[in-house]
């Protein structure tokens, strides 16, 4: 008896164990899911599309760093970064190191979003209705184009700098990475190839969204697609196409300028006068064509972190910029008044959970004005004078009797200040900037104004070629 017990015990343990252990080892993840089951049905694809917008919200992208780093790289003394972070400092000095971790993070986040859009595009067929399919394709292509446009502008030479067909842009990846084998060491496509892809995608997207319409309140619309096309054409100095696209972006009757510029940033005419306004949000207004949504629960507004004087107060507004503002310009109410020991700060990003206004009617008006002006001939939509005066009147300024290109560009510089437009504008207008240390002039096509291909990428991909000057 005593000998049988342990014998049975052993047998039970060893044999019983063997039989059941495979089951015991079959532990499934629950906080995440197997990729194979990610796109089973229509709503899975819709969720994938929402994931693309969530990607855009990253602080490395439109959560703020992308606009911020571009502005600092272009800046010639409108603003001054006084914070401790070395990444923005390098941008301000126009001496980016190849190891700049923010440049690398932006690259990674941008391609993460691109992969998300590629996953959606590969599963479009699983959507229930043709309308949904059209919408999702349009939105995904808009997002992918947005990413590629900012990547090619940041990491490649400007369209007008030399020959776009010879200049290196960024790698075009248009299919999802599903397996390890898909993670290829892709070379850089040319600037021209990237622009071609963007224009093709956006043209398709605009048409698809005209058919399908937006899927969510925050979705990109056909107007956003046209607006982005306007940006792209403007960057190429293709003024006629830019004017036409800007005009299409403005075509919705639901859009219009707010009566007060500050409404774009959460203020009203009454509360903006108070020195300190504890605003928390800046919701979408009729002026918004496409925004990055931020709520207390979703996303983080990095522009608030850096610019807001009640947060890090890392960026001061310099006299050079204040000097651009005419007396009575209500846009000046969004800048604090400097004192002897306290410099000026912008109030545009005081709302901690403020939406980031990526594309507004005012930009499109100024784009249409400039593009019409420079294209010459019959203006599309409205005359440059009318468009500029719409902006000026809204800012509380006297309308102009006639308009020059310099006046249009000056309005643009004031209207869109600190919102990530300076670098692109500087390059296409072939302006120059200055080295903040030596005060030496840095021409628009200086390699110093192009981001380096991140060291992290060169390290893993020998087929990538570094930019000139790094």
């Amino acid at each position: 008896m005593k000998k049988i017990v342990p014998g049975l015990l052993t047998a039970a343990l060893l044999l019983g164990g063997l039989e059941s252990c495979n089951n015991k080892l079959n532990v499934q993840p629950v906080s995440t899911i197997d990729s194979a089951t990610a796109f089973n049905n229509s709503s899975d694809v819709l969720a994938g599309l929402v994931g693309c917008y969530a990607g855009l919200q990253s602080t490395n992208l439109y959560g703020g760093y992308l606009q911020f780093m571009n502005d600092l790289l272009a800046d010639n003394g409108d603003e001054s970064f006084v914070g401790t972070f070395t990444q923005p400092q390098e941008a301000q000095r126009k001496t980016l190191l190849i190891t700049n971790t923010q440049v690398s993070a932006t690259w990674l986040s941008a391609y993460d979003v691109i992969n998300r859009t590629n996953n959606v595009l590969a599963n479009i067929g699983k959507l229930d209705t043709p309308a949904q399919q059209a919408s999702a394709e349009g939105e995904a292509k808009f997002i992918r184009s947005l990413m590629y446009f900012d990547l090619v502008r940041s990491f490649g030479k400007d369209w007008n700098d030399g020959t776009p067909a010879n200049n290196l842009g960024v790698p075009l990846v248009l299919t999802p990475t599903l397996t390890v084998a898909d993670a290829q060491q892709v070379p850089r496509n040319t600037v021209a190839e990237v622009y071609t892809q963007i224009i093709t995608d956006l043209t398709t997207a605009e048409a698809k969204l005209t058919t399908g319409g937006p899927l969510n309140a925050f979705s990109a619309t056909r107007y956003a697609c046209a607006g982005l096309l306007a940006r792209v054409y403007l960057q190429q100095n293709n003024y006629a196409a830019a004017a036409a696209a800007a005009n299409r972006a403005l075509a919705s009757s639901s859009f219009g300028l707010n009566t007060f510029y500050g409404e774009n940033f959460g203020y009203s005419t009454t509360n903006v006068a108070t020195a300190t306004v504890p605003i928390n949000t800046s919701a979408n207004t009729r002026e918004d064509i496409f925004t990055i949504q931020i709520t207390a629960q979703s996303g983080s507004n990095q522009l608030n972190t850096f610019y807001a004087r009640n947060r890090r107060a890392d960026v001061t507004v310099q006299q050079q910029f204040l000097g651009l503002l005419e007396a009575g310009d209500t846009r000046a109410t969004l800048i604090t008044t400097p004192t002897a020991s306290v410099p000026a700060y912008t109030r545009k990003f005081d709302a901690q959970y403020g939406n980031i206004k990526l594309m507004r009617v005012d930009e499109m008006l100024l784009t249409r004005a400039e593009a019409n002006f420079r294209a010459g001939g019959t203006p599309v939509g409205a005359t440059p004078l009318a468009d500029v005066n719409a902006i000026r009147t809204r800012a509380g300024l006297q309308p102009l009797a006639s308009v020059t290109l310099a006046q249009i560009l000056k309005e643009r510089r004031i209207e869109l200040a600190f919102e990530g437009f300076r670098l692109g504008d500087l390059k296409r207008n072939q302006e120059s900037t200055t080295d903040p240390l030596s005060n030496a002039t840095i021409p628009w096509n200086s390699p110093r104004l192009v981001f380096p291909i991140p060291f992290r990428e060169l390290n893993v991909n020998p087929n990538l070629k570094q930019n000139e000057g790094y």
Partner: protein, 1020 residues
């Protein structure tokens, strides 16, 4: 043949038989003093007792019995009773007792028969020290075990490396096993500063620690053994009168070192120079005056001279109370303990408090069946400070200007406190967020409740054959509660308070069933066999809620938050099914052979490779037992051994082999995204380790020690390989690449004096060379300059080499280090750091480490001093680009060495020109790498034991008073805060590769604590 004795058998002591005879005896040391706690066992039986506080024991034995008398630290004696009814035994102290039982995986082995490399430590080495976790106490005491306390923050992660680092992307900490149960050691911190779950184990409860180093010792733990296995055995009761022991200890801590920053005068003069050098509007004198006056709160800049560092480093109290009781009968024995310890940090607001209880019980139910329980319940409360990279972390206060007042005269409050008129922060004053506001208005408390223990039953099936079944569980429940009041709003946002509450439960169930068999045949053939199975299941689940908008700062829990800003929950788990076997054979007690194997099936392995087998074999020869050496007093011990075996490491993410998607909502709408690329054939990292050892003893073991030489070849690294970002991913997991650790370990113990005045010296030294052989892909980058690069040790600093300052213009120069057309190295210099090639410029791995412990005793006095040393490593001061660059990165206060900056053509210096925001020399380079060698007087303990005659007058069995110093002296040329450093924000992240690679980084990292305590231990 030496008789084998194991505590297991003692535990299973049989009731005395009827025809036995009574025996009393007394055990004394060579100095005549009583030796309590000695185990006396009747040979060949399980009949035994232990000596009491007076060294006295009583035991009923069979006529003609032989006693085996043993105690840790003494030579075991075998004495025939021979009809005597009383017996006096003098035990000789011995550091290398071959009869000593060494705890190994699933059982014990006698030291003499051991063919593996095992470092053992006893209760004397831990406990009674002013530290939170036992690893800190054994720093520098075990050869081949490198232990690094990351900073002076309390309860933080501790880096333990057994024979080097064998993984790049997997875990590198050893497996911790407490009383047979592998315990939870995962970092559960919500911040990137790791916490240490091992600190929940009360060091005072530890009886012994075995660190299994070579494959033959550790392979029984299979796929988790590569990083070494630390076996902790807790104290157990012994039959006899109930003994109480009380310990009280109190003292204080202070920082080991403070760093020198510019004072007001120096700050004003240097920043003025830097602003002037910057030129333009910066250089206009009126602007400089206005700027500095702004920094000073609107007054003359020289009004204040604030030493900010002193505001966050403090002298801090420590107290600890221990009470334990143990005893029992032949059938039932118990050990009960309780501890309360409270240590305040040298960093203000930091505190670690622990309440621990333990209950160990053994019961002999029948002749064959015994069972028992080991159980510990702990509550620890850690008042934490933010990680090193947070603006709010106290140490970052050194960035503030000395001309900024501590108290803003305009408001009468701490500088940076909210403007009373608006309730908002003072714009840009001080120029950075003042961390004192977070100390004033923030709390971050981590509370851990932990229940760890097991029940066992043991059946004595036949002579020498035991079946043991253990059911263990480890439940760790952690709550993190944070509140940041309005005063912190510049750092956290103007949200009317911020609250965060997170709970995590890490629960583990372990079932071990095994047979062990020990027997000796025909006097010469000694056999030990172990065969068993094990099943483990671990599950972590957690949730967290974040909220803002509190009615006032008096409300600090989330039920008062008007806005919930984030909420989350997660679950993850893994299972491990194992079969293991071990056998050893000794012929004539001198020819030894051992073998073991474990088969592990893990849910973490890819579907294509679920099971791995990990075998090991070893041989040994106890030469001193040979006839030609036996009894030789000069060469009293000589043993050689060798082993080879394979171990694994599966310490990586639970679902690392899967292709995964994760949820990612967008403003209230559900979304998903790809989160990981999978690999069905992902599997354990495999390490083959070779070890050869020599154990020696001279002059009757007055001089003794061990030498080990080893090589660990790790292949199929579970590498989180970087992939082009264009794929949408940054890494993929693959079993590729290999690395190697090889080294030599040496221990030497000399008993210089024995007798009334006793002096023992223990020395250990370890050399480990780590080298990455192959990465099968690109280098893996860590934080700053650290890198995994083939041909280099893990974590090597690779970057631009600083060439000093151009005497002509004060610019920073870097060596090009590019290859010329003719293949030579271009040692030309450049001011453009981007043009300088990245070359190895330092190694964070020490070339050797060691420790010396001297113990003296005379009459009732004893003195023990441990000196530890770490040599040959470099440290990268990641904060130097901010505070040691002559204002080239902005207005942060600078270290005083910046006064040596270049000023005019011809100046020869290593510190470039001071240019405000000029970026000269700020890039990461060898400029900020320096040697990290140090020697440290880790601990000094001076004790006095009251003579027992005196103690007894106070109804005490024993009384001891002691004075202790911890980290008393540090010898180093390192200029930072403390050379024992590892910044927490780069080593506790979700990216394990980066954590492993980012060694030797200092970033505003708090110095270690120097602690003085006075204590008393009473036994009654």
């Amino acid at each position: 043949m030496r008789k084998i004795f194991t505590p297991l058998l003692v535990v299973a002591a049989l009731p005395a038989l009827a025809q036995s005879q009574a025996l009393t005896g007394r055990i004394t040391g060579t100095d005549g003093s009583a030796v309590p706690g000695v185990t006396i066992v009747e040979r060949g039986t399980t009949n035994g007792v232990s000596s009491d506080a007076d060294g006295v024991f009583r035991l009923a034995v069979q006529p003609g019995a032989t006693l085996v008398i043993s105690s840790v630290g003494y030579t075991t004696q075998t004495i025939a009773v021979g009809g005597r009814s009383s017996l006096n035994v003098t035990l000789v102290a011995n550091a290398t007792d071959l009869g000593e039982a060494v705890v190994v995986g699933y059982g014990t082995q006698t030291k003499a028969d051991l063919t593996g490399s095992v470092a053992t430590l006893s209760s004397k080495d831990v406990g009674n020290q002013p530290v939170q976790s036992f690893e800190q106490s054994i720093q520098g005491k075990a050869a081949g075990v490198f232990i690094e306390n990351s900073s002076g923050k309390l309860g933080q992660g501790i880096r333990v490396r057994v024979r080097g680092v064998s993984s790049i992307s997997g875990g590198t900490q050893p497996l911790y096993v407490v009383d047979g149960v592998p315990v939870v050691a995962d970092n559960l911190s919500s911040t990137t500063a790791a916490t240490n779950p091992i600190a929940d184990i009360n060091p005072t409860d530890i009886e012994s620690i075995s660190i299994l180093k070579d494959a033959s010792a550790s392979a029984i733990y299979g796929s988790r053994a590569t990083n070494g296995v630390v076996l902790i055995t807790t104290k157990r009761g012994k039959a006899g009168a109930t003994r109480f022991s009380v310990g009280v200890q109190a003292g204080w801590s202070e920082p080991t070192h403070k760093r020198e920053f510019l004072n007001s005068q120096e700050y004003v003069s240097l920043i003025t120079e830097a602003l002037t050098n910057r030129g333009g509007t910066f250089a206009v004198p009126a602007n400089i005056t206005a700027r500095l006056s702004g920094y000073a709160g609107g007054v003359d800049p020289l009004t204040y001279d604030t030493n900010w560092q002193d505001q966050v480093l403090q002298k801090a109290g420590f107290q600890q109370y221990d009470l334990n009781a143990s005893g029992g009968t032949d059938k039932t024995r118990f050990y009960l303990s309780g501890q309360y310890s409270n240590q305040k940090g040298i960093i203000v607001s930091n505190q670690y408090e622990r309440m621990a209880t333990r209950f160990n019980l053994d019961h002999q139910a029948t002749e064959r069946l015994s069972f028992g329980i080991n159980l510990t319940a702990t509550r620890s409360v850690n008042n934490r400070v933010p990680n090193d990279n947070a603006f709010s972390t106290p140490m970052q206060i050194v960035a503030l200007a000395p001309i900024t007042p501590l108290i803003d005269p305009r408001s009468g409050q701490v500088s940076g406190a909210l403007d009373p008129s608006t309730g908002l922060p003072n714009t840009g004053f001080p120029f950075y967020y003042n961390p004192l506001l977070s100390i004033q208005g923030g709390t971050y408390v981590t509370t851990v409740y932990r229940l760890l223990g097991n029940v066992y039953a043991q059946l004595n099936l036949a002579k020498g054959l035991i079946f043991r079944s253990e059911l263990g569980t480890d439940v760790l429940n952690q709550n993190e509660e944070q509140y940041l009041s309005r005063v912190t709003s510049r750092n956290t946002g103007n949200t009317n308070g911020y609250g965060y509450n997170a709970n995590q439960t890490n629960a583990k169930v372990v079932v071990n069933n095994y047979f062990s068999y020990k027997n000796t045949f025909a006097d010469n053939h000694s056999v030990e066999l172990t065969l068993g199975t094990s099943y483990e299941n671990a599950r972590i689940n957690g949730n967290s809620v974040t909220g803002t908008q509190f009615p006032s700062d008096s409300y600090r829990t989330l039920d008062a938050a008007a806005q919930i800003t984030a909420g989350s929950s997660f679950t993850t788990s893994n299972a491990l099914v194992s079969y293991f076997a071990r056998g050893s054979y000794a012929f004539a007690g001198k020819y030894l052979v051992g073998a073991s194997a474990r088969l592990d099936g893990s849910s973490r392995f890819g579907a294509g490779r679920r099971y791995g087998i990990f075998p090991a074999g070893s041989v040994g020869w106890l030469i001193s037992e040979e006839d030609f050496l036996k009894g030789n007093k000069t060469l009293s011990l000589l043993k050689i051994r060798a082993s080879v075996g394979k171990t694994g490491n599966q310490n990586f993410g639970n679902f690392a082999s899967r292709s995964l998607f994760a949820g990612t909502g967008y403003v209230g709408t559900p979304g998903q995204r790809p989160s990981q690329l999978g690999n069905d054939f992902l599997s354990w990292e495999s390490t083959v380790q070779y070890d050869a050892g020599l154990e020696y003893g001279f002059l009757d073991n007055r001089i003794s020690g061990e030498v080990d030489i080893y090589r660990k070849n790790t292949t199929g690294l579970l590498l989180s390989q970087p992939v082009p970002g264009t794929s949408g991913f940054s890494t993929i997991n693959r079993n590729v690449g290999s690395l190697r650790n090889q080294g030599i370990e040496l221990t030497l113990t000399t008993r210089n004096f024995v007798g009334d005045f006793a002096w023992t010296t223990s020395v250990n030294a370890s050399i480990n060379r780590n080298k990455i052989m192959d990465l099968a892909g690109p280098d893996i980058l860590g934080s700053a300059l650290n890198r995994a690069q083939a041909g280099q040790p893990l974590g090597t600093f690779v970057g631009p080499e600083y060439a000093g300052v151009d005497p002509a213009n004060g610019n920073a120069l870097y060596y090009l280090n590019t290859t010329n057309a003719d293949g030579t190295l271009n040692r030309g210099t450049t001011t453009n750091i981007n043009q300088a090639a990245n070359v190895p410029i330092g190694n964070p791995n020490p070339t050797w480490t060691g420790g010396i412990t001297n113990t003296f005793s005379y009459k009732g006095f004893d003195l023990s001093a441990t000196l530890v040393g770490v040599f040959g490593n470099q440290i990268y001061d990641s904060a130097a680009p901010y505070f040691s660059t002559g204002f080239n990165n902005g207005y942060d206060n600078q270290t005083r060495d910046q006064l040596n900056r270049w000023q005019k053509p011809g100046d020869i210096t290593n510190v470039p020109k001071a240019v405000y925001g000029g970026g000269i020399g700020t890039g990461a380079s060898s400029r900020f790498v320096q040697n990290g060698d140090y020697g440290r007087l880790r601990s000094v303990v001076l004790g006095y034991n009251l003579p027992s005659s005196l103690a007894k007058r106070g109804f005490l069995q024993s009384a001891r008073i002691f004075l202790q110093g911890y980290n008393l002296l540090t010898f180093t040329k390192y200029t930072g805060w403390d050379p024992e450093v590892s910044s927490d924000y780069v080593t506790g992240t979700g990216n394990t590769s980066s954590n492993n690679i980012s060694q030797g980084i200092s970033f505003y990292t708090a110095p270690q604590a120097r602690t003085y305590t006075l204590g008393i231990n009473l036994g009654f």
